[in-house]
């Protein structure tokens, strides 16, 4: 079955991203397909490579990046939500005249249409948030 996953909260502050990660792993382990993981609202903050979590805790961004690499996941950060919160890739930084970017490996920035599309092309859409 095809699952779309939506993450509405940032890393560490809420458990949403952790739960979404565990759900995604469990779905993959059962042979299901993950059409897309869409990061919306504060969820875009999962996609910054600048986090330095304590050494004795999980690294949420790395978890997503590695799971994405292993299973060729489409990790999409919503552009409108990302702009409000300061998540940029190199192109966006250039376009907005910003002197740095912070997107993490394996994430891409795209529009809200990708969320609707995930709803259309997935058999189930599962949202994690606050």
């Amino acid at each position: 079955m095809k699952f779309g996953v939506v993450v509405n909260e940032g890393p560490y502050t809420h458990q949403a991203s952790d739960s979404a990660y565990q759900f995604t792993k469990a779905a993959l382990a059962k042979g299901h397909e993950i059409t897309r993981v869409f990061f919306y609202h504060d969820g875009v903050n999962n996609g910054t490579r600048l986090t330095v979590p304590p050494q004795d805790d999980r690294n949420i961004q790395k978890n997503w990046t590695e799971l994405g690499k292993e299973h060729d996941l489409d990790l999409v950060v919503c552009i409108a939500a990302a702009q409000r919160r300061g998540i940029l890739d190199e192109n966006e930084a250039k376009r907005q005249g910003k002197d740095a970017d912070n997107i993490a490996e394996g994430f891409r920035i795209s529009g809200l249409g990708q969320l609707i599309e995930a709803g259309i092309m997935s058999d189930r859409l599962v949202t994690f948030g606050d």
């Binding site: 939506v6 509405n8 919306y40 609202h41 409108a80 939500a81 529009g111 809200l112 249409g113 969320l115 609707i116 599309e117 709803g119 259309i120 859409l125 949202t127 948030g129």
Partner: protein, 137 residues
């Protein structure tokens, strides 16, 4: 590309505006989603009914007033806004406290029709049970 079946999309609105951004960003999804020609409904229940209250004026808090965007929904063919009666009542509100939102029915000589439909909790329960995709904010 093969023809897609039309899915029933439900946007769940259970949070008040301004205290958090969810209501505003939900509206942004609805407006973008309107381009996808799906069968779109919005549910307003619990504190979500506060999003539709008429006369919002945010000058004093320095935050953007996004409530006028609800008026655009009709132009985007988003015409089914289900508002739960019990949620209104528990909050001391009546349907008269809500914005007047309309759409023009092209099958009925472009007659203006109300987009807000007051439904009971039991009616909303049935409507929710009938959806293909439920987006929560």
């Amino acid at each position: 590309m093969q023809e897609e079946t039309i899915k029933k999309f439900m946007y769940m609105n259970r949070k008040a505006p301004y205290g958090t951004i969810y209501a505003l960003e939900a509206l942004e999804v609805v407006l973008i989603g309107a381009a996808f020609d799906q069968d779109v409904s919005l549910a307003f229940l619990d504190d979500g009914v506060f999003q539709l209250v008429e006369g919002q004026d945010t000058d004093g808090i320095g935050v953007k007033n996004f409530s006028p965007a609800f008026r655009a929904l009709g132009d985007y063919d988003v015409t089914k806004l289900f508002v739960e009666k019990e949620s209104l009542e528990e909050r001391g509100l009546s349907p008269d406290d809500l914005m007047e939102l309309v759409w023009e029915d092209e099958d009925d000589d472009w007659a203006e029709k109300p987009s807000i439909r007051i439904v009971t909790r039991d009616e909303l329960k049935s409507i929710l049970g009938d959806q293909d995709v439920i987006l929560s904010f």
